[in-house]
Amino acid sequence: METLIQLSYFLAAVLFIVGLKAMSSPKTARKGVMWAGVGMVLAVVVTLFHGDIQGFSNYLLIFVAIAIGSSLAWVTAKRVQMTEMPQMVALYNGMGGGSAGAIGAVALMEAQRKLVESGDSVIHQQMGFDIAVLAVLGGLIGTVAFSGSLVAWAKLDGRMQRNSLMPAQQIVNIVLFAAMVLAGIWVLFSGGMTSIVVFFALALVFGVFMTVPIGGADMPVVISLFNALTGLAVGFKGFVLGNAALIIAGTLVGAAGMLLTHLMAKAMNRPISNVLFSGFGTQATGG
């Protein structure tokens, strides 16, 4: 069974690469998304037989979660107007980021739970230093992409004031970023739940603060950036779980997304740094 699962992951990875390639040409784009879809279904179905999945209640939870998540997404995606597509991409991307963030949280919580039985005192000993760093980093990127994408969605959907900016936003953001990174390091060297909770809370807040100053016209570029970041986070989760399908698909999207972000910014004649930090400059001089 294990071989069959790995073989299916391999096939899914091939389908993702070929599908993405096909999607970059107008003639073959529709076929491309279909191939990627086949790869996705295959990967999800074989995962149901994965040896790590144990216990009736966990199986039940998996089925219920998939049923709720996919039917909600199906209905909203079918119903939405064509003009509202960009914010829907932001919303679904945010969900992916949130999923990667939550995987990071569970992985860290699990390591924390196992501390007592393994006799280690801090999390990085339990997980192995490199894996712990990737769990924290992937959790950070995924969580920031989650809350950031939700803000992007809310802005494009007209649910949020366009110019909701605080005084000294740039300084606040830098302080928040530094605090978030420090909390991430704290997680590695602590054995308690507090650090994990503080770290994820800071990442959520930073994602919001980072996106709030950015104007609506620049949003597609920012969504593309979050898309790439989510891909990267998924890739890192692949390392944590030792899952090649996640590493390949996530990294593929991470690299392609970064390039795509760059191309989109170039098409708008603006460097990415300008898009990300423009809100700071204009408001700082104005206020």
Partner: protein, 96 residues
Amino acid sequence: MIEGFTALYIFMLSAVAGYEVISRVPVILHTPLMSGSNFIHGIVVVGAMIVLGHAATPMEQLIGFIAVLLGAGNAVGGYVVTERMLEMFKSSKSEG
């Protein structure tokens, strides 16, 4: 299981593949492609399923549940939205 340097090599080669595959894309396809790649990272649902699969405490189960729910939403929503975008793309092309 994929570990250590093997994982690093996979990471590097996937990044190159992602970069190369996209490098010559026309501007009109930027948004559909963003949506399409958004769908592909919906594979995160597989990781979420595995994590929820060996969750042992109610808290882990709760967060794992959220992970699977969000991941499934990413995959399904991403697919449907991409499909609809490309559909529009095709019809507008045949009209013109």
